[in-house]
């Protein structure tokens, strides 16, 4: 019975959407569409959360996320962001060692000499 399946999926819905078939059918269709979309969004959201956690963890040591990842790439350390965020939360000493490795590989852009500004027709080149 399709109705039985619909009501099984409509558990926990608000108001008539869990009891009345016409409304429940619409809401269940929408819920299934959302879950399809969100299975793909979850991967994006998780990666964004790991990046925020890594950023917070490295800023404690004076390095921001961008410079940290650039240093790791230079040293060919292929730890992914999931593992890095777990390290930053639960293994602080190992994480500090990683931040130091990244900092020796890429100390940041503070000492760059500014590129000379182009004047006149040289701007077009």
């Amino acid at each position: 019975m399709n109705k039985k399946e619909v009501f099984k999926l409509a558990k926990g819905f608000r108001g008539r959407a869990k009891n009345c078939i016409r409304i429940a059918r619409e809401r269940v269709e929408k819920a299934l569409q959302y879950s399809y979309r969100d299975r793909r969004n979850k991967k994006r959201d998780m990666r964004s959360l790991w990046i925020e956690r890594i950023n917070a963890g490295t800023r404690v040591h004076g390095v921001n996320y961008g410079n940290f990842m650039h240093g790791l790439v230079k040293e060919n350390i292929q730890l992914n962001r999931k593992v890095l965020s777990e390290l930053s939360m639960h293994e602080p000493y190992s994480f500090k060692a990683l931040v130091d490795v990244s900092r020796t590989a890429f100390p940041g852009n503070k000492n760059m000499t500014p590129t000379p500004k182009k004047e006149g027709l040289a701007i077009l080149v």
């Binding site: 998780m46 959360l49 790991w50 925020e52 956690r53 890594i54 917070a56 963890g57 800023r59 404690v60 999931k82 593992v83 965020s85 777990e86 930053s88 939360m89 639960h90």
Partner: protein, 157 residues
């Protein structure tokens, strides 16, 4: 399989009684820069255990709120508006007038605009405690100084 599941805080990881309390003196600090650091600490974005759906932040006490500074001509030109909901019910005051009337509201307004809007945001806002004058009634929580990393937050005299 602890390495393959992203950590999510349990109830005992964010008990209010074990959170840090910070205190910051607002005299001669630029309003927006101060509000930004306060909001970051209240929301918990400076912690590696940051979670957007859970309140992992700290409590912040602001003292000397009436002495907060703004640059340029904002003291007489920055407007604070509120609307009562009825037609013609908009009230506009300048920074100066609001500072005479209710100085705490200036910092509260600034920080509230920088916290998320929603149920969690409203809860976070209750973790901000603003006081005029140099005293605060939270000595029992032993607040520590708020670490400020912004170099331009102090008003240049």
């Amino acid at each position: 399989d602890v390495w393959n599941k992203t950590w999510y805080p349990k109830a005992e990881d964010h008990v209010n009684t074990e959170k840090t309390w910070y205190v910051v003196d607002a005299s001669d600090k630029i309003l927006g820069r101060l509000a930004s650091t306060i909001a970051i600490h209240i929301r918990g974005k400076n912690l590696a255990t940051y979670t957007p759906s859970v309140d992992m932040g700290a409590f912040v006490i602001v003292v000397n709120a009436e002495k907060v500074a703004v640059s340029g001509k904002k003291r007489t030109q920055k407007l604070y508006r509120r609307h009562s909901g009825r037609p013609g019910g908009m009230t506009v005051e300048t920074f100066d007038q609001l500072q005479q009337r209710i100085p705490e509201r200036i910092i509260e307004h600034a920080v509230r605009g920088m916290l998320p809007k929603g149920r969690l945001g409203r809860d976070l806002f209750t973790h901000l405690k603003v006081y005029t004058g140099a005293d605060h009634p939270h000595q029992a929580q032993k607040p520590i100084d708020l670490p400020i990393r912004d170099k331009r937050i102090q008003k240049q005299t």
